[in-house]
């Protein structure tokens, strides 16, 4: 443990150091290039940043549990889109016509239920077939996306409910509704992972599945619950986002899974499971959003964002590997 202290500190603190670096870099670069009269660290700008982080951030919390548990879920983007369609479409269903604005909680409930159900399907398949989660959710990613297209073809599904829009655009204590959802989800999942039995078992299973089985932990049901959680969060993310925008394209949410996994990995969660932190994932989400915003602020082409994030991801993992090496006696591979 003695030898590990500085590197542990570096690992835990790295993502926040990176965020600080981004803030300084973009502020200074923005001044020098003077492309925008507004400062990068402008309050409104930062509040907007939180709000824009929400759709990916909310799902990333679920992905953190899934990855600590030793699995992965590639179907979140498609789940996100499918739940959005359920939300917007059910608002217009004739059977709910008499409900007035009470249709809103009903539609929310339906969308969230859809997310939980889609997650449960993933989880049950992973549990009962024993096929790797990567393969199962790769399949369900295609399958769920197929359902999205079957629903309305290439056409967007739209419905604006002004009560809903007002709610989604509201600001409480200066923070947008979406930001509050992101913070609440982060807090709840943090509690789950650090204080509850479910969280403890997730780490144990991810680190050493065999030992967990030998300790009597029921690994299958545990995984199903995790997939239901991430399904719920993907739906929640859709609900929060589309309440405001009111229109979903069949391609919405594509590549979300990759952005989310990138954020989780940047936050230091191990791909192999057993280690990771919800708070660091929150940092990873902010870091990516800052990068996207910051590159725009200094006038970089949006397409360069992907290139830069890709490079940073590899650099971070390389750094992590260096910090985690046990020293020169480690086997060369």
């Amino acid at each position: 443990m003695q030898a590990g202290t500085p590197s542990t500190f570096l690992k835990r603190g790295a993502i926040w150091g990176f965020i600080l670096f981004e803030l300084i870099f973009f502020s200074v670069a923005g001044e020098i290039l003077s492309l925008s009269e507004k400062a990068f660290m402008d309050l409104d700008n930062m509040l907007l940043l939180f709000k824009q982080s929400a759709p990916i951030g909310i799902i990333a919390m679920g992905m953190t549990i899934i990855m600590i548990n030793g699995n992965i879920d590639l179907s979140v983007g498609a789940t996100f889109a499918l739940c959005a369609i359920v939300l917007l479409d059910s608002l217009t269903w004739p059977i709910f016509a008499g409900l007035g604005d009470w249709v809103i909680p009903v539609s929310w409930g339906l969308a969230l239920l859809t997310g939980v159900a889609l997650g449960a399907i993933n989880g049950m398949i992973v549990w009962k077939t024993g096929v790797d989660a990567f393969i199962v959710t790769l399949g369900s990613m295609l399958g769920y996306r197929g359902l999205v297209f079957m629903y309305n073809g290439e056409q967007p599904t739209s419905h604006l409910n002004w009560t809903l829009v007002d709610f989604a655009e509201a600001q409480f204590l200066g923070l947008h509704t979406a930001t509050w959802f992101l913070l609440a989800v982060t807090l709840v999942i943090w509690f789950v992972m650090t204080r509850t039995i479910h969280g403890r078992n997730a780490y144990a299973i991810g680190d050493n599945r065999e030992a967990a089985v030998n300790a009597g932990i029921r690994v299958g049901p545990h995984m199903v619950i995790n997939f239901m959680i991430i399904g719920f969060l993907a739906a929640l993310s859709a609900v929060v986002f589309y309440s405001e925008s009111g229109s979903v394209n069949p391609n919405d949410g594509e590549l979300y899974e990759l952005w989310i996994i990138t954020a989780v990995v940047l936050g230091g969660t191990k791909l192999t499971g057993g280690a990771g932190s919800v708070i660091s994932t929150f940092g990873g989400v902010l870091a990516i959003q800052l990068l996207r915003k910051g590159l725009g602020h200094i006038g970089a082409d949006t397409s360069t964002v992907n290139l830069v994030i890709g490079l940073i991801l590899i650099a971070v993992l390389y750094l992590d590997r260096q910090l985690n090496r046990k020293g020169a006696e480690e086997l060369k591979t």
Binding site: I197, Y203, G274, L331
Partner: protein, 506 residues
């Protein structure tokens, strides 16, 4: 022998790791045409020494001399090119490739433009396989071979160069007697060709059968070299552990309670057949046999990891069906598994969390884990088992083998089981801690637990068990009590040679 130059000589090799002096000035020499045994307890430094020889580790001090030329080896391939060849205990073969490709892995003969010279590859490999008198061809897929034949492929690899020194690391661990004979012929052949051979093994009878000299390591130091013909098992053992091994039986006798576990005619496919035994409270039942005799599989069945194909299990006289570890634990059965790190512990978690892993469900305060209760459980068993750790926050991966094993045992004791199964209780644990674990097992029996100890070490079962079940090829061949057991009978029983006993096999 002395006037010849040694094939391989080590001079004052020192290798330290943070906190450990793994090798502390080791010197010894292997003559050409000599089989030199290297012995030592686990953790004595054998594997480190081998890794230094194989170019995986660099020594901090000292030097390696090949035919008296000081040599530096930085990679395994370089070591091989210089004539130091390894035959590893753990097979490192690519199952999807052919025998020939495995034999020349990394050194495939080439033609122009980087193409593989297949003709030469197959011809060269065939020549080597001829020497080994094996029944497979160079084109056989390695994945289709038996473990013993894979071992032969590993040996074939060593023969691709004219080796000056060949190192065998526990080569017979997975071989049958007939296959061993072939292996010993190969060793004799190498010896006749003038190679120096280092032979690492725990099996005394092999050492005395094939080696010329024995060197012993203890705590990273070279404690002595003897000519095999002039020494005996006892002297070698004494060099290994630094004192006489206490082979005395456990004299403590206490009252035995009721039968806690009874197994009747239990079978599981061809893993084991018609196994019947019972364990009383306060009794230690030892299961002794070779690896693969079916002992671990019985334990796994009792713990719900395997379903039996026939037979029944009775707990406290009641028939029990156990389908998962979860159910086993609920019925008071605990398993301390064979592979402590792989199956017993979550190495990335701290001591406390590992200790309470099976019962964390019961330790809740509302939806949250009751961490205070966990700490008090940990403290209680740390004191009771004398677990040495700076505190519960220590990661289990940082503890010594003995203390890790105590964590696993403590984990189950805190569940108050009635039957405790311990599979290979002291594998990979140093000699001092071994005695402690043995005493602990005796204490637990005295406290009224029914304990099953599975072991491959004869002194261990003799020392710890009240009743010993000898197993051979999936059957219990003989049952001994601590009064009527002798080492000789026990060896015969586990080799299928038992000439008395209820259910003997031909």
């Amino acid at each position: 022998m002395t006037e010849k130059t040694p094939a391989l000589r080590l001079e004052g090799i020192v290798k330290t790791f943070p906190g450990v002096r793994a090798l502390d000035g080791v010197s010894f020499a292997v003559m050409p045409g000599e089989v030199h045994a290297l012995m030592g307890e686990n953790g004595a430094g054998k594997s480190t020494l081998m890794k230094v020889l194989g170019g995986i580790y660099q020594p901090d001090e000292g030097q390696i001399l090949i035919e008296e030329t000081p040599t530096k080896m930085t990679t395994p391939l370089e070591a091989k090119a210089k004539g130091v060849v390894f035959i590893h205990q753990e097979l490192s073969l690519a199952d999807e490739l052919s025998v020939a490709e495995n034999v020349y892995l990394g050194e495939l003969p080439r033609r122009s433009f980087g193409r593989v010279d297949w003709n030469r590859l197959y011809a060269d490999t065939a020549a080597i396989l001829d020497r080994l008198k094996v029944g497979f061809t160079p084109k056989t897929l390695v994945g289709d071979l038996s473990i013993a034949n894979k071992q032969m492929v590993e040996i074939a690899r060593a023969l691709t160069v004219e080796a000056k020194a060949v190192i065998f690391d526990e080569p017979t661990a997975s071989l049958t007697d007939a296959e061993k004979d072939v292996l010993f012929e190969v060793i004799a052949d190498l010896k006749a060709r003038g190679a120096g051979i280092i032979y690492i093994s725990h099996r005394m009878e092999e050492i005395f059968r094939i080696t010329d000299r024995v060197s012993v390591l203890r705590d990273g130091q070279h404690t002595g070299t003897a000519t095999t013909a002039d020494t005996d098992e006892e002297a070698v053992t004494q060099m290994m552990i630094g004192r006489k091994l206490d082979l005395s039986r456990n004299a403590v006798h206490h009252e035995l309670g009721d039968v806690a576990l009874e197994v009747r005619k239990l079978s599981c496919g061809d893993l084991y057949t018609d196994v019947s035994f019972q364990v009383r409270r306060g009794e230690v039942a030892g299961f002794y046999g070779l690896v693969g005799a079916g002992r671990t599989e019985i334990a796994e069945t009792l713990f719900g990891l395997r379903d039996p194909s026939s037979g029944e299990i009775l707990l406290d006289g009641q028939k029990a069906r156990i389908h998962s570890p979860n159910e086993a634990i609920a019925r008071g059965i605990s398993l301390v598994p064979e592979d402590r790190k792989g199956q017993g512990l979550v190495l990335g978690m701290n001591c406390r969390d590992n200790m309470t892993l099976p019962q964390v469900d019961d330790l809740k305060a509302g939806p949250f884990v009751a961490e205070g209760a966990e700490v008090s459980i940990f403290d209680q068993y740390r004191d009771r088992l004398d677990i040495r750790t700076p505190g519960w926050k220590q990661l289990v991966g940082n503890l010594s083998g003995g203390n890790q094993q105590k964590i696993v045992i403590g984990k189950w004791l805190s569940m108050h089981p009635s039957v405790l199964i311990v599979d290979e209780p002291t594998r990979g644990i140093d000699v001092g801690s071994k005695a402690e674990i043995h005493n602990l097992i005796r204490d637990l029996a005295a406290q009224g637990y029914a304990v099953i100890v599975i072991s491959s070490e004869m002194p261990e079962v003799l020392h710890v068990a009240d009743r010993i079940y000898a197993m051979f090829q999936g059957r219990i061949t003989q049952e001994f009590t601590s009064d009527d057991v002798t080492e000789d009978n026990l060896v015969r029983a586990i080799s299928g040679l038992a000439d008395n006993g209820a259910s003997q096999v031909a």
